[in-house]
């Protein structure tokens, strides 16, 4: 589904991603962990098409296509979804109007007619229930005045509305209380199908109790320095990152 090959990227001339390779197959869940500032969000931004990150080397192939040549909206319509670490507040733009436009753009891309107003509202209701989001939130402006946790739930709600093939969730679990965490995880599990995939960026092993990853990667200083099964998350929880940093330094010295 997604093949990243030796990806290097800079922000304002500073090297942030220093050669990342990663393969995600349909139906897989990959977790990416790693210390603050290691480049996790930057990787997500490159995949979603953020312009201020400049790709200097490497390729990204998504469903056989060159992802890097596509605009952010094309990527979205081809099934990529980014759950933002810091969702943006957009005063004056209602959630309803936002989602209606987005859903209909997706439908147009698939050659489908726009949803009627009543069908759309039905879809909204269904998905709201599915991710247990407060009904009132959907009547407000996009993320405006939402609490940290509400914003994160809203990302999952949007994901449920758009049914992506590859969802990249950037710390969607941060700032959630225990119940919200369970809801978010359930949301992911309900959407999960054999043909769609997830990249879950997180700092906490507890999310991975609910969303069980097939693979766990550790990103450190712009590189994936360790890849293993879900037990790696437990090990990190216990021991922190120091031992990995040491391993990396030793391998450079060696």
């Amino acid at each position: 589904m997604l093949v990243i090959n030796n990806l290097k990227a800079t922000i304002s001339g500073k090297n942030i991603l220093k050669g990342i390779s990663l393969k995600v197959k349909p139906g897989e869940i990959h977790a990416i962990m790693g210390p603050n500032g290691s480049g996790k969000s930057t990787l997500a931004a490159v995949l979603a098409g953020r312009e201020f990150v400049e790709v200097t080397e490497g390729t990204v192939t998504y469903l056989g296509k060159d992802l890097l040549s596509m605009s952010p909206e094309e990527r979205a319509k081809e099934g990529i979804f980014l759950g933002f670490q810091y969702p943006i507040e957009i005063p004056g733009v209602s959630m309803v109007n936002f989602m209606k436009t987005a859903v209909n753009e997706h439908r147009k891309h698939k050659g489908l007619d726009p949803l009627s107003a009543s069908d759309f509202l039905k879809l909204m209701r269904e998905k709201k229930e599915m991710v247990e989001i407060d009904s009132k939130l959907a009547n407000r402006s996009v993320n405006e005045g939402f609490s940290g946790g509400e914003k994160k739930k809203n990302e999952i709600f949007q994901m449920a509305m758009l049914e992506p093939r590859l969802a990249i969730l950037d710390e969607t679990d941060s700032g959630l209380d225990i119940d919200a965490l369970r809801i978010v995880a359930n949301g992911v599990n309900k959407i999960k199908r054999p043909d769609n995939s997830f990249i879950v960026i997180t700092h906490y092993q507890r999310l991975l109790d609910y969303i069980v990853p097939d693979v766990v990667h550790v990103l450190y200083d712009g590189r994936i320095v360790k890849t293993a099964g879900k037990e790696l998350a437990l090990e990190l929880e216990e021991k922190g990152y120091d031992w990995i940093k040491k391993e990396v330094e030793n391998s450079i010295l060696a």
Partner: protein, 452 residues
Amino acid sequence: MNGKSETTEKYLKLYHDNIDKISDNSAPYLNSFREEAFGRFSELGIPTKKDEAYKYTNLSLFFDHDYASYFIPDAADFEKAEEFRCDISDMDTHGIVLLNGFYPTINEKLRQLPSGVWIGSLNAAAKKFPEIIEKHYGKYAHTDTDGLVHLNTAMASDGIFVYVPEGVILSKPVQVVNLVQAEVDSFSQHRNLIIVEKRAEFSIIICDHTLSPKKFLTNAVTEIFVGEDAHFDIIRVQNEHNAACKITHTFIHQERNSVASSNNMTLHGGLIRNSTYHYLGGEGAESHSFGLFLADKWQHVDNFVNVDHAFPHCTSNQLFKGVLDDMSTGTFNGRIYVRPDAQGTLAYQKNNNILLTDDAKMDTKPQLEIYADDVKCSHGATVGQLDGDALFYLQSRGINKREARLMLMFGFAHEVIQNIKIEPLRDRMDNLVMQRLRGELSRCASCMVKCG
């Protein structure tokens, strides 16, 4: 007359040549103000960029021009206006049409609505209700600096009159459709007076339109009295063509515990200047001043707001926004004046602008003059581009860049529109603004009025 600009001289002459004719048709009380106002005008003259309050607005383009008509009323003009017919369409309002500053009906110049509300021609009202007029006319339009207000007092002979008696709640708004239509370049001045007595509730919508493609200049003054515990809203929808210049001066006088709002929605127009004066003249009064403009090409939109906190425990709030495309320009000048006695004042001001091109330009200036100690005041102004993070957020959900930009601009504008309390008007404004942003709107006359 010493050292007057040529332009000012022209208007002095206009007054001298026509004052007899103007006075003949007008109620005596309106006439009693003319000479003094003319004196003040001849001192102050037509504002130039040297006047602080007009620093970024060049009026000379319109005031230097020689108009073929100055709408000095003649009996024949009233008859001509009488031939004009206009229905205000689908909004549920009490409608009034003002044509080139006149009330275009001879037979029914004043109409009584249920519960004793009167709407109609100011000139007719000044003859019929001298005691009401004498209490309010000329009492609120105070300015030491703006000669145009005095020019209006000296020469205007008609306009809209509304009287809402004590305790009356008019659930339907009054909608004034202010039309300019002439076959020659024209200058018109009209004068409105709105009286909302104690505990009354009333809202008025004023729609400005130009119907023929000539050069037009309008200089209008509106005086509004909002009595104790009364509620009042005025919403202006300005949609004129690029060769039209509209200057409005709105003076809102508020008594104790009254709540009033003004909302200037400028969709289109060549040069627009709206001066809004809020006088908080009694404890516990609350005023809101809103404005939104969308400008492109060479358009220029200037909003000037003066909030005068004259009594304790009043609240004022200003929210003005502008979207500027092409090489359009805009100005916001918001003054908050808190007098020494006005303790417990709350005063807020916000002015946000989006420049869509490098050539568009916005000047924004808060002016705070606070002479009381116990005052909470905040103000903020921004001039910038569309928020790149928000744009990306929308795009990342599959919305193309053009549409995402439109949504952001619309959202930006909607923050002002959402303050309109009349729901059908709010929805209509949303639509008109969306059309305007899409570049589909040349004028909204066709959807507001049906003329024939």
